[in-house]
């Protein structure tokens, strides 16, 4: 064999053969060492390269690089796995390695082990350049080609665009021009993009045009890190693996649902991104509507991507906006105040924010779902910054018992039963129900019963990004929203945003409080109150 390219070609084809199928049933048939009954063997990705754009960003340092190390530490990275950084820095491989090393040391969840680091280090490369620089992308293509030869990664590349969306067109164009987006027969190319997926239906659509011009929809992985969280996945286990809840999971028993994501921090250094976007686009459009879909959807026929996405789409399609947007939406903007014992400035005083900004930092909306299961059951969604406490939860609040055989005074302080999925922090599930107060009188009051992940399964539960990065490398898409879901979410939010632009300044609320008056008034109109968090 005199042709020097031959061994490389061989490596490409063999590595590629497995790439799409690692750990699936087909792989088990092709691989005598795999067996579906062998549950100890973990899902391991096939040989591949991860190309990270935006390595100096906060997300890369705090989440992505540590998550890659943690995967390695759990033995889930394939032999030969390589990590290529691309950024506008005059760096060599070792500078990027140093950045990775520091990020891992500071933020990895698993202990630092020299041998794992050594394995990772061997595959670390860096390509310097601007996104507009054609030469830099040619260099990237050459570097990847070389990695295929020296590391046996078989032409399987995942491109992670951890960069602001305005750079997507140019990066995608470069990947297309250099042919990096076209997978040769038997290998794969995938692109990973982060929210925001546009700022309205129109822009989401345009963004999608750009990505789909280079990558087929099946190769696009949109990361909503909430969907990688154990608790969020557990919503499906809770609903569909148990028989206890499904019979009451409908309008016959549920009074209403509250989905909350509260943050105690302000906008921090994200002024440039946040101003003009606001709380609803930043959080409701993706995280909260995805949570709504998981809570409200019908049972999927299986947990594969298409079945799951179909059910989520169906329920998003059934979402109805209130006819009176003024009465049933609320928005606010934090003003100066005290948050958790610290004096903090208002939104309009934050660095880089115009004093006339009408961007909301708090948003609450009421939605209904027009189907047989949910007709007439309101879903209240709220999110805000600089609220009293950091908490994300889904609370399903049940109707009161139809008849109470107790005297009115005995049940005076009895609330409604509730099932709360606590997403973060303190992941777990709470059930609230009435119980007799010890004593001679028959007095009934609310108590809660907790299931805490912190106690039961904490150690092994991986970071959301670990799970999602592994899914990208394996090519397993159920936890990634489809473009149709993204567009449906914008269809829900766009009319609200449009209405809000006519309403002038959002109502101020004091930092450290639980949002503006109008949000409480919105609930009061329905005779309900927000859960105190």
């Amino acid at each position: 064999m005199t042709d020097p390219a031959a061994p490389m070609e061989e490596a490409v084809t063999v590595a590629a053969a497995v790439a799409g199928t690692a750990t699936t049933i087909e792989a088990a048939e092709a691989n005598p060492l795999r067996d579906p009954r062998d549950k100890r063997l973990p899902r391991v990705a096939g040989p591949c390269v991860m190309v990270l754009f935006g390595v100096t960003g906060d997300l890369a340092k705090r989440k992505l690089l540590p998550a890659i190390y943690d995967l390695g530490n759990r033995g889930l990275l394939p032999p030969g796995f390589s990590l290529v950084g691309f950024a506008r820095r005059d760096w060599k491989d070792q500078d990027f390695a140093q950045l990775t090393h520091d990020a891992v040391k500071a933020h990895a969840r698993t202990p630092f082990r020299e041998e794992v680091w050594k394995q990772l280090l061997e595959g670390i490369h860096f390509v310097p350049g601007e996104f507009s620089d054609e030469g830099a992308f040619d260099a990237l293509a050459m570097a990847l080609n070389e990695i295929d030869q020296t590391r046996g990664t078989g032409g399987n590349y995942a491109f992670y665009l951890s960069v602001p969306p305005k750079f997507f067109p140019v990066v995608v164009e470069q990947l297309k021009r250099t042919g990096l987006s076209d997978a040769p027969e038997g290998s794969w190319r995938r692109v990973v993009i982060e929210k925001p997926f546009g700022h309205d239906l129109q822009s989401a659509h345009e963004l999608n045009e750009i990505t789909t011009s280079a990558f087929p929809e099946s190769s696009i992985f949109r990361i909503d890190h909430y969907l990688g969280k154990e608790t969020v996945q557990n919503i499906m286990a809770l609903r569909f693996a148990n028989n206890l809840y499904e019979p009451i999971w409908n309008r016959g028993f549920v009074d209403h649902v509250q989905i909350t994501m509260a943050e105690d921090i302000g906008i921090g250094g994200r002024a440039g991104y946040y101003d003009g976007i606001g709380a609803a686009r930043d959080v409701i459009q993706n995280h909260l509507l995805q949570l709504l879909a998981l809570v409200a959807m019908e049972d999927p026929t299986s947990f594969d991507a298409s079945a799951l996405r179909r059910e989520k789409e169906k329920v998003l399609r059934a979402v109805r906006l209130p006819s009176d947007l003024k009465a049933y939406t609320a928005r606010g903007q934090y003003s100066a105040g005290w948050q958790g014992g610290q004096k903090v400035v208002g939104y309009l005083q934050e660095d880089g924010i115009s004093p006339e900004s009408t961007t909301e930092t708090y948003a609450a909306i009421k939605l209904e779902i027009a189907n047989r299961r949910w007709a007439g059951v309101p879903f209240y969604l709220r999110t805000g910054k600089r609220l009293g406490r950091r908490v994300t939860e889904v609370a399903v609040v049940f109707q009161r018992a139809p008849h109470l055989p107790f005297s009115k005074t005995d049940t005076e302080i009895l609330g409604q039963n509730a099932l709360v999925v606590r997403v973060q922090p303190d992941e777990g599930i709470t059930v609230r129900f009435g119980s007799k107060v010890p004593g001679t009188a028959m007095e009934v009051r609310d108590v809660s019963m907790d299931f805490a992940y912190g106690e039961s399964f904490l150690e092994s539960s991986p970071e959301a990004y670990e799970r999602l990065l592994l899914d990208v490398m394996i090519g397993d898409p159920p936890l990634f929203p489809h473009q149709r879901e993204v567009e449906l979410s914008w269809t829900i939010l766009d009319p609200i945003e449009e209405f809000w632009t006519t309403q002038g300044q959002p109502e101020p609320y004091e930092s450290g409080s639980w949002g503006p008056q109008s949000a409480d008034a919105m609930m009061a109109r329905d005779g309900r109150v927000w859960r105190r968090l």
């Binding site: 061994p7 061989e10 490596a11 063999v14 590595a15 053969a17 497995v18 690692a22 750990t23 792989a27 092709a30 691989n31 005598p32 060492l33 795999r34 067996d35 009954r37 062998d38 549950k39 100890r40 063997l41 973990p42 391991v44 096939g46 040989p47 390695g72 530490n73 033995g75 394939p78 032999p79 030969g80 082990r113 020299e114 041998e115 794992v116 050594k118 394995q119 061997e122 030869q149 020296t150 590391r151 046996g152 907790d450 299931f451 805490a452 912190g454 106690e455 039961s456 399964f457 904490l458 150690e459 092994s460």
Partner: protein
């Protein structure tokens, strides 16, 4: 942490004391998912309990350590209760004296958590047929450790195969998971037909013949075991129609994967602590059919 000693006691008093301590401390015992019974000798107690409490951070458990003492002494049950010690669960160390040693199940069964799985672990010597043992019979999952038999580890695996029942498993099998995972990943790419192979390990290492048996069973080729200087497993070499596929690990931390027509690559492959092995064991409580096939194949071919 609260420790409470009860001397010359009964299972009923221990239960009552647990309830009392829990009320006194608030409610630290919510969400326990299983009962882990550790049957061991006094000299293994410290290490075994440490591994068990660490594993319990992932799987909150009531841990019952069962130590049988002098059978000639008068009948007595001593108990040491610990709550809130590096573990979200509860720990009780039981010491059985005299004739009571033969009736340990009468002490253990009232202390099991209701309606949750029970796992028994023998860090040292285990009974011949774990599922017929009075304590083993209480459990869904029975974990032995061939390494605990000191020199007789390999021989003990034959006993395991003879006395196998669904739910049996051995830590020498759990030690192999990273190796098996790496080998399986190597086989995700076509490697050609395997003709024969060899597993190299420190002499008398019980995991080595198990790995060889698993490979033989799955690949339909003869895989032998040869001795090396260790530590632990040091290499797996498989002769395929395309050349040699090898995983070599000399320092018990970093392995090299060599395959025909491809560059050598390093992969982290560290030996794991007992607590990590126990965490893996407790993750799935159904029976391990792959282990069953491997250990039975080993016993069929063993000439010792």
């Amino acid at each position: 942490m609260t420790t409470f000693m009860l001397s010359d006691t009964t299972a009923g008093k221990i239960s009552a004391q647990f309830t009392h301590l829990r009320h006194q401390m608030g409610a630290p015992a919510i969400g326990m998912v299983l009962t882990l019974v550790v049957v061991c000798e006094e000299r293994h107690q410290y290490d075994a309990l440490r591994a068990a409490t660490e594993a319990a951070r992932e799987h909150p458990s009531r841990i019952i350590v069962l130590i049988t003492r002098e059978p000639d002494e008068a009948i007595r049950l001593d108990a040491e209760l610990r709550i809130g010690e590096n573990t979200p669960g509860e720990v009780v160390v039981l010491r059985l004296y005299g004739e009571l040693a033969h009736h340990a199940d009468s002490v253990v069964s009232p202390l099991l958590l209701p309606d949750t799985p029970v796992v028994v672990w023998w860090p040292g010597v285990a009974p011949e047929v774990p599922s017929k043992d009075p304590i083993g019979a209480l459990a869904q999952r029975r974990i032995t450790d061939a390494k605990g038999f000191d020199g007789g580890g390999v021989q003990s695996l034959v006993t395991r195969a003879k006395g196998y029942a669904r739910g049996d498993t051995d830590l020498s099998w759990a030690r192999l998971t990273p190796w098996r995972s790496l080998l399986a990943a190597a086989f995700d790419q076509p490697v050609g037909k395997v003709r024969k192979g060899v597993v190299e390990a420190a002499a008398g290492h019980p995991s080595a013949p198990l790995l060889a048996a698993w490979l033989s069973e799955r690949l339909g080729a003869t895989v032998k075991v040869t001795d090396s200087d260790g530590p632990g497993l040091t290499a797996v070499r498989l002769q395929t129609s395309d050349g040699e596929l090898a995983v070599v690990r000399a320092d018990a931390r970093l392995a090299t994967l060599c395959r025909p027509g491809q560059p050598d690559r390093n992969v982290a492959l560290a030996r794991r602590t007992t607590s990590e092995l126990m965490s893996e064991e407790l993750r799935r409580l159904d029976s391990d059919e792959i282990y069953e096939a491997a250990v039975k194949r080993f016993a069929r071919t063993y000439k010792g």
